[in-house]
Amino acid sequence: MQSHRASDRLLTIYLGLFLLYLFLPLVVMAAATFNTSRFPTVTPWLGTTTRWFEALYNDAGMWVALKNSFIIGFFVIVVSVPLGVAAAMVLNGVHAKARGFLYAVMVSPLLTPGVIIGISTLVFWDRLGVKGGLHLAVIGQSSFITAYVMLMVLARLQRFDSSLEEAALDLGASHGQVFRRILAPHLKPAIISGAVLAFFQSFENYNTTLFTRGTDTTLTIYIASKVRTGLTPAVNALGLILIAVTVAGAVAYEIMRRRESARERAAEKAAEQEQMSALQLA
């Protein structure tokens, strides 16, 4: 028993070191934003300043890259969400034998290195006379982001009771009405989180974009090039802002998810109580 507790304590210490390892670099990077040193570092601390935020704000290149990232992210949603929904529905509706094969083909982009997706997209469209640029970045990213959306929608779709579709048809609804009124509302949460994930994946993509971007710059490309040429703590300022936005988003998403599951539990409980009181009446 003694050694058992000792090994647990060892584990706890290890966990502490692990968390330090995970977060120290991020803290250092964030802190370096406020150091007056021209090279981003915390050692030595030359004085506290916020001028690197100003420098970032005045960097026209950053704004162009940011705008490009938003444009790509928007169009990746436009492309990958409908395709991902269609793919999930097709996968759900085909014969079991075809399903396995189709599934393998559809998830293969998730296991393919991003650089290779970028290269194959570049070469393929070059053959058709299309050169690199934002549009090609959208196509390249969508080819694997669609798979993420497909998986999320598929998971939701598998929890769908298809007799609801039949019931709606039986009550006189057309196929279009069934989709709009019955299936789409059911899939809505998966579609929304799919869209959020799609934007996020697009926004932080580097490998695929590197090969398909042509001469355009996205925010990730901008950061990487700044690190190698012309690094100042303005990059840290950008990183700090992105981290803050990400953390806020992740926490909000998590709270939303937990609240959702709490609501589902409450509804189930209410139905149970209703059932009980109905029984007592009967």
């Binding site: 990077m29 097709v90 298809s162």
Partner: protein
């Protein structure tokens, strides 16, 4: 297929099928084929394409291996890079596994549920942060007069600062950091399903801790280990940012070689061939892991 038409009607079924066809064919399958086909062509100008010089060749693949001298163990540059990538990715995968295992075990089986869910939330945060930023943070940490050298010196572990960024240490550290959590979550998911009683039973039977892990916990975690290794290996082998930011000319990565064939040497067929070789390496690794650990594609996609 007929079920699709029955459930959604002709119009919608056709729309869905054409959407899937566009994605699967025009965005996934055909680009692969074209890339592979391209890699068997010599590097020609647009004018020469389809002309007499345009014939299929293995030259782009052969060039990677040409000049290998197994007797004197001399390798050509590109092949050396390839070997370094293979070895480096393997090493990173192994380090990630070793580093993550205790944490995943702690989260899944030792910590209380509330504590575990809090820690998981904490762990997810770096996961969401851009790979480039995570790498960049180590660029600062590893600088010659950066925090790491100062800490290590203060602890008395080193006497003089280390030039992390000019050896391969920086790349390995950066990659481990960047891809660690892709090992953590599959491992955690697999360990979470382990019945705590199994561990208790083994302990009750007098098994020492290492043996419990070796005989009970690790076998149970196999699918998670496989998935984690696949994710980390593929990400590491195909990483571009980490070696570009934390490496030096002496620690070139295969992706960098591919990139330079494309955009510096303007030799797309050669670049395509190398890309295909990289893809082959990843697929071989994935298939090996799937075979060894007996996991299916659906397990990985989770």
């Amino acid at each position: 297929m007929s079920e699709l038409f029955r459930r959604y009607g002709t119009g919608m079924a056709l729309a869905m099928l054409s959407g899937v066809a566009i994605w699967v064919l025009a965005m996934v399958v055909l680009p692969y084929f074209v890339m592979v086909e391209y890699s068997f062509h010599p590097n020609l100008t647009v004018v020469e394409m389809g002309g007499p010089k345009d014939h299929y060749t293995l030259e782009n693949y052969a060039s990677l291996f040409r000049g290998i001298d197994l007797v004197n163990l001399e390798f050509p540059d590109d092949f050396r890079v390839f070997l370094r990538t293979l070895w480096g990715a393997t090493l990173v995968t192994f380090i990630c596994l070793v580093v993550c295992y205790p944490v995943a075990y702690y989260l899944a089986k030792v910590a209380t549920p509330e504590r575990a869910s809090f820690l998981l939330l904490i762990l997810v945060i770096p996961f969401w942060i851009n790979e480039i930023l995570r790498t960049f943070s180590w660029y600062i940490m590893l600088a010659y007069s950066g925090p790491l050298n100062i800490i290590l010196k203060a602890l008395g572990i080193i006497d003089a600062p280390v030039r992390w960024l000019s050896g391969s240490g920086g790349v390995l550290i950066g990659m481990t950091y960047a891809f660690l959590l892709f090992m953590m979550f599959p491992l955690y998911n697999a360990l979470e399903t382990l019945d705590r009683n199994q561990v208790e039973a083994a302990r009750d039977l007098g098994a020492p801790t290492w043996r419990i892990h070796w005989r009970v916990v690790i076998p149970h975690a196999k699918p998670g280990i496989a998935v984690g290794c696949i994710m980390v290996f593929v990400l590491a082998a195909s990483s571009y940012v980490v070696p570009a930011l934390l490496g030096s000319p002496g620690t070139r990565w295969f992706t960098e070689t591919i990139y330079s064939w494309f955009f510096e040497a303007q030799n797309w067929p050669r670049g395509s061939a190398y890309a295909f070789i990289l893809l082959g390496l990843c697929v071989a690794f994935i298939l090996t892991m799937m075979r060894v650990f007996k996991v299916g594609l659906t397990d990985i996609a989770k």
